[in-house]
Amino acid sequence: MTVELVRETWPGKIATVTIGATAAEGGTRAKTVTIGGHAALPFLPTDAPTPHPPLVAMEVADAVSPDWPDHLRAPLADVLGSPAAWARKCVEEYGADLICLRLQSPHPDWQDAPPEAAAATVRAVLDAVPVPLIILGCGHADKDNDVWPRVTEAAKGERCLVGVAVPENYKTLVVACLADGHNILAEAPIDVNIQKQLNILITEMGLPPERIVLHPGNAALGYGLEYEYSIMERIRLAGLQGDRMLAQPMLTIISTEAWKAKEARLSEAAAPAWGAAALRGPAWEAATAAAFLQSGADVVVLLHPESVASVRRTIANLVAVAAA
């Protein structure tokens, strides 16, 4: 019996967002990346081909938590003190499509580093790698608002993706992105209504919807994954149904979130029944990413080189099936 595939067509289309700018476009990147553009749910080539397959960004931080487990610290040990060297290693050794630079050190509870230092770090990383840059603040609203304008200015013209804008704190970042030609990463707390509201507010300030990437929440396997998965699915369905305020590509920051899970962190001595920590940690990150790819993630941000390798294989396999 032949099974006829059900084909679905959608009235709407997901916007495309380009990150990075070449010299001809006013930046210094050797290459740019474009995400989004989907006319169907992920990996359903008979509905519509995937114009821009998902990408892997690797997280690089200017300060890391002292309680990082050894099996996460080990492969990066030689570069943890230098964001530029760390970024270079991610691109050259692990093939990262983008670098996601987390500016943690300005946080008052961390090093309270001045905005100038953060701007210098951004410039150093831009000079070290040819790929486009995602830049994250420290999450302290007042400090982020001091840091963001300096950072976007230091990267002026590079068309970075800067975040995260949240409903309680987005105006300064929108103004900075408008002034210096960057895209914005808009985060909602696993809530489709708030995500839409935030996009409306950002576009009301003059940033076009084609310069917004959505970050629909923070979750990991065992810690809210299914909530974020279903919200991402709802966002993507609304976008495909024609809601322009939800028709943006999506990014998920899995890295630090997955590594908060005790299943990823605990050593073999602490949890012998769970097996080798060196496998368990990366697997936790990769499994989370695999789920989010299916719900529409266009960029997944990862930390461990092993999870990066695994997720790159997953994407290659999904795209290969898609093309067959």
Binding site: G12, V192, N193, I194, K196, Q197, I200, L201, T203, E204, R234, A238, G242, D243, R244, M245, L246, A247
Partner: protein, 261 residues
């Protein structure tokens, strides 16, 4: 909700003047304002004109599609005028309108096929306006049988249950609403269901209020398209809100700040 803007109609005095003087700016402005207000398509009707209506329709189509890039609804009782309009359209248009009368269907079905156009079909026939919902459904069935036979897919049909003015035929307002759910199941993919909204308030003192109340009721019953005045802000707010309440669009605090996608 698919909104067809009704304002470019020679029945309006200002439009009649613009047509007479071939005032491109006036027509283009009216087109742009309706699209900006949320119209997904624009209805073009020459109104009664002393000139050759085919020529006027061609001019309207050319003028409007220079200004905006949305589908056009070619509105005329005369098939040759509709044919002229369709010929001038750069993208697939909508024919406004046929009825269930054999003569009308014979004239317009070939045009819909030739130009890949949508077809608005009023549920009236040679016997005139139906008395109740059941009679409307019966004519709708005849229409769908003919369009299916002609190879027109269901989603290019816009069935209109015929809305009459509340002050002239009060009982018919309810009958038209009750006909809506019965239209849905007539074919697969389901036909669109459309009304010419402003008819319901013709000659009344509270036109906007009556229009928007009726629109909300019809949407709840399955209406998915309407010919209306998108420049009526209160009406468009009700349309957006009804879309939220019917789970057709995702709620956000500022949902009214954005025009429908």
């Amino acid at each position: 909700m698919f909104v067809i803007g009704e304002r470019i109609n020679g029945m309006f005095r200002s439009v009649a003047r613009a047509i007479r003087e071939r005032d491109v700016n006036a027509i283009a402005d009216l087109a742009r304002r309706q699209v900006a207000a949320g119209a997904g398509a624009l209805d073009l009707n020459t109104g009664p004109t002393g000139e050759d209506p085919t020529e006027v329709m061609t001019w309207l189509v050319e003028t409007v599609q220079e200004a905006v890039d949305v589908p056009l609804s070619i509105d005329s009782p005369r098939p040759p005028v509709i044919a002229a309009g369709l010929r001038a359209c750069r993208r697939p248009a909508i024919i406004n309108s046929t009825t269930g009368a054999r003569e009308k269907l014979d004239a317009l079905l070939p045009l819909a096929a030739e130009f890949g156009a949508g077809l608005i079909a009023l549920t009236i026939d040679e016997r005139g306006i139906p008395r109740n919902a059941a009679a409307r459904a019966e004519i709708a069935l005849t229409i769908v049988a003919r369009t299916t036979e002609a190879g027109l897919p269901g989603d290019r049909i816009y069935l209109d249950p015929i809305v009459l003015p509340v002050n002239a035929a009060q009982d018919q307002c309810r009958e038209a609403l009750l006909a809506i759910p019965s239209f849905r199941a007539l074919c697969e993919p389901a036909p669109h269901i459309i009304i010419g909204l402003s008819n319901v308030s013709q000659g009344t003192a509270n036109r906007s209020l009556i229009n928007r109340t009726y629109l909300a009721m019809a949407m709840a019953l399955g209406l998915d398209a309407a010919i209306l005045d998108p420049l009526d802000q209160d009406l468009m707010d009700v349309l957006r809100t009804a879309g939220i309440l019917l789970n057709q669009e995702i709620y956000a605090e500022s949902y009214l700040q954005r025009r429908p996608a």
